[in-house]
């Protein structure tokens, strides 16, 4: 670290500061003042100086940080990938913790509610991971399938009076069909082009939802969506005619917390099912073919693999899980509108997958906690929340450019499970 402040570092920091000053000059450097002779412009050189100085120091710090990391990694041999049992232990540890969370002394209703939110994103992350992490198809419109799931449940339940448990598989199915519908036209696209088309697809779905007033209620959305029940046990204070309430059945006093905890377990089970499915399918030929396709499509073809079916299956299955998550979202909120399904959601889910390490299931949990959980808890920061969010993303990219957990466990070992 002694020779760290070398001239090139200072030069690059100074250059960044000059650029910042040039940008800050029109943006922050002048302001309108109301004087006796009418409006006039006043300079604010102090703000410009602050901006330039801040950028100078920041740039310097980042460079030093980078060097320090580089020094570090040159001196240390590459750490071996963690043995299987640590993955195993961490995975089960997290799952157990999630199971007992609502019963821990510090778990109030608010915390369980936020944990439910985080779990939705974990589930969406695991779904998108099939498409982006495993199959390597960059999808920027994933929220479309989430929306299809939510609206499918809301409409099926309101129009035909079907229960959540009947609608759930149907919503997944509809979303999967939309996944295939998106998959077909983009089969030949890859990389940037694929990203642009999927982005467009996401927007098309949202705009259709916004404008098809008769069906979707347009921008007003759909309200009064049926809340879920546990094998016919309602969570309402006064159960509808002919139904028993959960509290009555178990001889408990009615509490609104019951439903919150029930919803938490519902999404926990859905998310865990997504995870187990992915872990299992990775070891099957289809799952392995997804990963192989991400690595080299030409090699896959020459090994007799049909890229069309493999890609479509990734789109369909990823979309199906988003559809499940969507119907859960609808039943939890009781109200949905196109506003919940904007591009920013797609970007968030993608950020979770990428920062989690593209393909790592536990990495996605960590990234979701970091990107969804922390900002929820730091709502007190108010306007600085998004700044903290951005800073967290930049720091992760600097510190771990390939994501939080980027090592990959082989899907087959000799003598092990195939």
């Amino acid at each position: 670290m002694a020779a760290a402040l070398s001239p090139p570092l200072i030069r690059s920091a100074a250059l960044a500061a000059v650029v910042a000053a040039l940008l800050a000059l029109p943006l922050m450097g002048v302001r309108l003042v109301d004087s006796s002779s009418g409006l006039s412009l006043a300079g604010r050189p102090d703000l410009v100086a602050w901006a330039a100085g801040g950028v100078f120091c920041g740039r310097l710090l980042i460079d030093l940080f980078r060097r320090w990391i580089a020094d570090f990694s040159i001196r240390l041999p590459l750490p071996p990938p963690p043995p299987d049992w640590t993955r195993f232990a961490v995975g089960w540890g997290l799952a157990l913790f999630a199971l007992v969370l609502p019963f821990l002394p510090f778990a109030d209703r608010n915390l369980v509610d936020k944990a439910t939110m985080v779990l939705i994103y974990i589930m969406l992350g695991w779904g998108l991971n099939i498409v982006v992490g495993l199959a390597g198809l960059l999808d920027l419109g994933f929220v479309a399938f989430y929306a299809v799931g939510a609206y499918s449940y809301a409409l099926l339940s309101l129009t035909f009076g079907l229960s959540f448990w009947v609608c759930l598989p149907l919503a997944g199915l509809f979303a999967a069909v939309f996944g295939i519908a998106l998959g077909f036209p983009v089969l030949r696209l890859r990389g940037d082009y694929l990203a642009i088309v999927t982005l467009g697809f996401g927007e098309i779905i949202r705009i259709v939802l916004q404008n098809w007033q008769d069906l979707t209620g347009g921008p007003i959305g759909i309200s009064g969506i049926e809340r879920p029940s546990l094998f016919g046990l309602s969570f309402k204070a006064v159960p509808p005619e002919g139904q028993t309430s959960f509290a009555e059945f178990f001889g408990l006093d009615y509490s609104a917390d019951h439903r919150v905890i029930f919803l938490y377990f519902l999404i926990l089970i859905l998310a865990l099912a997504t995870n187990l499915f992915t872990l299992r399918i990775r070891r099957l030929p289809v799952g392995r073919a997804w990963e192989a396709l991400r690595e080299d499509e030409i090699a896959c073809r020459s090994l007799g693999i049909n890229p069309t079916t493999i890609k479509l299956s990734a789109f369909a299955l990823g979309a199906m899980f988003a559809g499940f998550a969507g119907s859960f979202f609808a039943t939890r909120q009781g109200f949905i509108s196109p506003e919940s399904f904007t591009f920013i959601e797609s970007a968030m889910i993608l950020a979770i997958v990428v920062l989690g390490g593209m393909g790592s299931q536990i990495g996605i949990v960590l990234a979701a906690l970091l990107l969804v959980g922390l900002p929820e808890w730091f709502r007190d920061l108010q306007m600085y929340r998004m700044l903290a969010f951005g800073a967290a993303m930049v720091l992760i990219m600097l510190w771990k450019p390939s994501g939080l957990l980027s090592s990959r466990a082989p899907t087959i070992r000799l003598g092990g499970r195939a």
Binding site: P285, R288, A289, E291, A292, E295, D296, I298, A299, C300, R301, S302, L303, G304, I305, N306, P307, R408, P410, T411, I412, R413, L414, A418
Partner: protein
């Protein structure tokens, strides 16, 4: 086994093959040599259906496979180890081999694996290593091993000796001979290393700018003065072999 008749192909407007006729009989090793850019890789790729042939016919064991998509051609028993190896770098050696067996009956997997690891013991020591971290020679062994996992009848090899040390090149060629002799796999071999390829091959073709310029048995071509001058003895290569 494989017959190519009057094959034309190319990339968009650029035509790279101008009417190729070759045929590979069952149990043979046929070598294809030629300068850089002669169209050898294009010929193998066109046989595999990508790019599509613009004219001509390819038949595999009597069945017309021209115009079939690549994966269906592979399922008819034609394995292709493409130029540049194209192993799956982030996947382990064992996973790479398992991918090679995608179209085979899963019950054969263990036997096929033992057979391939018998040919390439080096791979057996590295089953859990990532493909991308193998040495060049090991990667080439993996590419050939992966192609063999589907129990092909015909194996197309594109420059298996590319970038390898002389000792490893000799090993690879010995293994190709073994595969052919003991397992009865027919081989169509594209090579820059003309000496080894011609010594090994039963028959060989010389390609010059999209055409077959010369054909004969391996031994004949090895002793042909023109070939010696251009492709052996450190000759300059180039397109100098006359098409006549």
């Amino acid at each position: 086994m494989l017959r190519v008749e009057g094959l034309y192909s190319g990339y968009g407007r650029i035509e790279a093959l101008h009417g190729i006729d070759i045929d590979v009989r069952e149990g043979e090793i046929v070598a294809l040599i030629g300068a850089n850019g002669a169209g050898k890789t294009t010929l193998l790729m066109t046989i595999c259906g990508n790019p599509r042939a613009s004219a001509g016919r390819v038949t595999l064991a009597g069945e017309d496979i021209t115009g079939l998509p690549t994966h269906l051609i592979a399922r008819r028993g034609l394995a292709h180890s493409p130029e540049g190896r194209r192993i799956f770098p982030r996947m382990s050696v064992l996973e790479n081999l398992r991918m090679g067996a995608s179209i085979a009956d899963p019950r054969h997997f263990k036997d096929d694996l033992d057979r391939v690891l018998g040919l390439f013991p080096r791979l057996g020591e590295r089953l859990d290593q990532r493909g991308g971290t193998l040495s060049g020679g090991e990667q080439q062994m993996l590419a050939i091993g992966r192609a063999l996992m589907s129990r092909p009848r015909l194996l197309l090899l594109d420059e298996p000796s590319l970038g390898l040390a002389p000792l490893v090149v000799r090993q690879i060629f010995e293994i190709i001979a073994t595969i052919n002799r003991e397992q009865g796999v027919t081989v169509l071999l594209v090579e820059q290393n003309a000496f080894h390829a011609l010594s090994l091959a039963h028959r060989a073709h010389v390609m010059v700018t999209g055409r077959i310029a010369l054909s004969g048995s391996g031994a004949e071509l090895l002793n042909n003065p023109e070939i010696r001058a251009h492709y052996l003895d450190g000759g300059a290569g180039g397109g100098a072999v006359s098409t006549s």
